[in-house]
Symmetry: C2
Subunit: 189 residues, 2 copies
């Protein structure tokens, strides 16, 4: 199936912003990457900002949901779904190469632009809520607050991915995740 102009643009923007960040990516770079003239691009998006926000919605958000498959399964303890997802994710190389695209943009844009903050938090919240749902569907040892635990899980995964983005080896990342899994297992009743 042939890719539409709009899709070509979004793919190029995702790729370049993932590597160079928002301010590090110029319109000229984007135009060159997707080989589409300026007039066409501005036909689809009214500004650079709107374009990148669209990438968050239509590229990064689905990607996050694809990576972190965290839906409630019949007859499976929620926390076991989380653990097995963590295992699976730790095997996927591409995620680690430049850190988490959402987190990267979050660091750069959220402190400086409320629209980005809002859009990025939507993705983050949906992820956290899925984890929360799974945790509430589990029997945990007493005194464990599911909400703060869901934050902890996300914080640790994101922290692992974002540590020294360029050279962080798969192995290093994996051994970090093992500690998280280790901790989660200790919370099962």
């Amino acid at each position: 199936m042939m890719q539409t102009t709009r899709e070509k643009i979004l793919d190029a923007v995702f790729k370049l912003v993932y590597i160079n960040g928002y301010n590090g990516t110029s319109m000229a770079m984007i135009l060159k990457e997707c080989g589409i003239p300026k007039g066409s691009l501005y036909h689809y998006f009214k500004s650079k900002k709107e374009m990148v926000l669209t990438v968050v919605k239509e590229r990064i958000n689905p990607r996050m949901n694809e990576f972190y498959q965290l839906d409630v399964e019949e007859g499976v303890e929620g926390i076991d779904t989380i653990i097995s997802t963590l295992y699976k994710v730790s095997k996927k190389e591409l995620l680690v190469s430049n850190g988490c695209p959402l987190n990267r943009l979050n660091q750069e844009m959220s402190p400086v632009d409320a629209d980005f903050e809002e859009e990025i938090n939507l993705v983050y919240d949906s992820l956290r809520n899925k984890i929360l749902l799974l945790l509430n569907n589990s029997s945990l040892v007493e005194g464990i607050d599911a909400e703060s635990l869901s934050e902890f899980i996300i914080a640790t995964v994101w922290g692992s991915i974002s540590l020294s983005p360029k050279q962080s080896s798969q192995k290093r990342y994996l051994s970090t995740i093992k500690h998280l899994i280790n901790y989660l297992k200790s919370l099962k009743v």
Copy 2:
């Protein structure tokens, strides 16, 4: 004591880059912030890049060491020093407001510039090595690898700080750190 021109520049750069990132901070902004004319500034630093790298060395690095006081204490289990430092750090508000300045710059610049990557990794490594030293000075339950545990600690703390930098409340951050402390305590023999 009076502040030198060079110090004024570094302070302004630290502040602005912390908020806006590297590419989001222009020379014009820096000049305005510190009220120093261009010619003077370029007398001290030959380029924007050199200037920001100097900020990493002379502002961010000492700041990290000041925040994370992780030196070996006589007669104290290393892991207890880590735990009490985590407690202390979680009470310091300023760190959380815009995330960790080192991590922020890391996310933006490391994938794109080898000099930044190197300089930032120096700070990160010194922190990790301190933690490693403390862990090696502790009795941990069997099967725990101190090296990967030190990575895990940093990943979790950085992840906690960087999650939704703007609005992440102190409370939320604190409850995340509690899980880390909880885990660390479970590893004491």
